[in-house]
């Protein structure tokens, strides 16, 4: 009989280099799924939120109901949200994405609308005076000026999505959450800690990335500052 290997995996330590090297592929797959679920839900959320915010801006009466519905959706706890969508999507990645889209909508619509409302009336009149039609006004003046507020919402939505993906573990599509869930049931400390730290790193990296995108997209905000 051979003696049990005396390494950090066998001792079940929190921090374990062997874990990283032996489970490399599992970790990479989980990170991949995590990124995919996050990116997909934030992008779909954005595609739905922009028209909603523009419509709410154009027709003032629409703003109340749109904000009310998205806020109510945000109040529903994530575990409940995933469960409520279960009969519609079954145990699938779509279920997790759909739930996360609903969450990102609140933050995105609210922020884009606030950005659009903050465009000064004089600026819009000046653009109209220059002969801009409503579409050109929206695309070249209003939306760019609403960018900083919209990006603030996008950053919060993305960071929240990264952390909410983990709950998707309940249906088996939780990215790093799957590893945390499995690690909890087997009391595997290194796996739980590594996956948790990776979640936070992804959130921070995504936030910095979006900050960089905002810097690139808003050159006017950089000029004039000393």
């Amino acid at each position: 009989m051979t003696a049990a290997p005396d390494d950090c995996l066998a001792r079940n330590e929190w921090i374990c280099g062997d874990y990283l090297s032996t489970r490399r592929q599992i970790l990479l797959d989980a990170v991949g799924q995590h990124l995919e679920l996050t990116a997909l839900s934030v992008l779909i959320g954005l595609v739905i939120a922009v028209p909603l915010a523009v419509l709410a801006r154009r027709w003032g009466w629409a703003a109340g109901p749109v904000l009310a519905v998205t806020t109510v959706l945000y109040t529903i706890p994530s575990l409940a949200m995933f469960s409520l969508l279960l009969p519609v999507y079954g145990l699938s990645a779509t279920l997790v994405v759909a739930g996360l889209v609903l969450y990102s909508l609140t933050l995105l619509v609210r922020n884009i609308l606030a950005g659009l409302r903050a465009v000064p009336e004089e600026t819009r009149q000046a653009a109209r005076g220059l002969g801009f039609g409503p579409v050109r006004l929206l695309l070249t003046v209003e939306l760019p000026l609403a960018l900083p507020a919209a990006m603030a919402g996008l950053r919060i939505a993305t960071v929240s999505a990264v952390s909410l993906v983990t709950i998707g573990a309940i249906v088996g599509f939780g990215g790093l959450g799957n590893l945390i869930y499995a690690g909890m049931n087997t009391y595997f400390k290194a796996q739980v800690l590594t996956a948790s730290v990776l979640c936070v790193l992804i959130a921070v990296a995504a936030d910095l990335l979006l900050l960089g995108v905002q810097w690139l997209l808003t050159p006017w905000a950089r000029k004039g500052r000393t």
């Binding site: 994530s78 409940a80 409520l84 279960l86 959450g177 979640c199 936070v200 959130a203 921070v204």
Partner: protein
């Protein structure tokens, strides 16, 4: 539609409402956890925020902690706590995680509310001979109350949501009905649990809406 019918049947069955796994017991657990953690979080966050706001120091720190908190997955923290010695005290991980996540919004909102109080008003109070403590309790806190209440509301809703997730890590509360439903592969139970949780969260939000409406007149004036 079939799911709706079977969900209704699940909810209508009195056997699902009684006992330790029943709705009433889980609801009570959820409410108790939320209330206790809200009180503890307020006791930790509000004095700190009020003093910092009064002195005008440490605001950036409070806001930064709040932002970092958003990046940390609640579920990860719950499981991490479960695997530490805290996991041995029953609802320990849930309570610690809940308080950890409720303190930042309370702190930030109360601090920002305190700083938004008109400096002229504060100076007038000092000019009338009020001491620092009197300015704090009679001028700054009442004027900052709408923002402070808003923070309490955000924290409360977040506590309800986090208490639900705690069920994934073995904690009690309404989330348990959902996780048990998943284990039994019973869609009606999962959906029934989700509806119960959603209704409970919306009720809490509604209660705060009413409290804010009934609040002092100056609290309403700003909106």
């Amino acid at each position: 539609m079939k799911v709706l019918g079977s969900t209704w049947d699940w909810l209508a069955d009195p056997a699902h409402w009684s006992g330790d796994d029943g709705v009433w017991h889980r609801l009570l657990q959820h409410l108790l956890l939320t209330v206790v953690c809200l009180i503890v979080s307020c006791l930790i966050a509000l004095p700190v925020a009020l003093v910092l706001g009064h002195l005008g120091k440490g605001g950036a720190l409070a806001v930064n902690i709040s932002n970092v908190g958003r990046a940390v997955p609640t579920f990860a923290v719950l499981v991490l706590l479960l695997l530490t010695p805290v996991g041995k005290w029953g609802e320990g991980p849930t309570v610690v995680a809940l308080v950890l996540f409720a303190v930042p919004p309370l702190l930030t909102n109360a601090y920002v509310g305190m700083r938004e109080v008109d400096r002229g008003v504060v100076q007038a109070a000092r000019g009338m001979g009020m001491t620092g403590r009197q300015t704090l309790t009679r001028v700054e806190v009442p004027l900052a109350l709408p923002m402070i209440l808003n923070g309490v509301r955000i924290a409360a809703v977040q506590l309800v949501a986090t208490a639900t997730i705690a069920a994934l890590a073995g904690g009690g509360g309404l989330g348990r009905i959902i996780t048990a439903g998943f284990n039994l592969a019973s869609t009606p139970q999962v959906v029934a649990g989700a509806i119960l949780v959603a209704v409970f969260a919306l009720l809490v939000e509604g209660v705060f809406e009413v409290v804010e409406r009934l609040g002092p007149a100056w609290a309403r004036a700003g909106r």
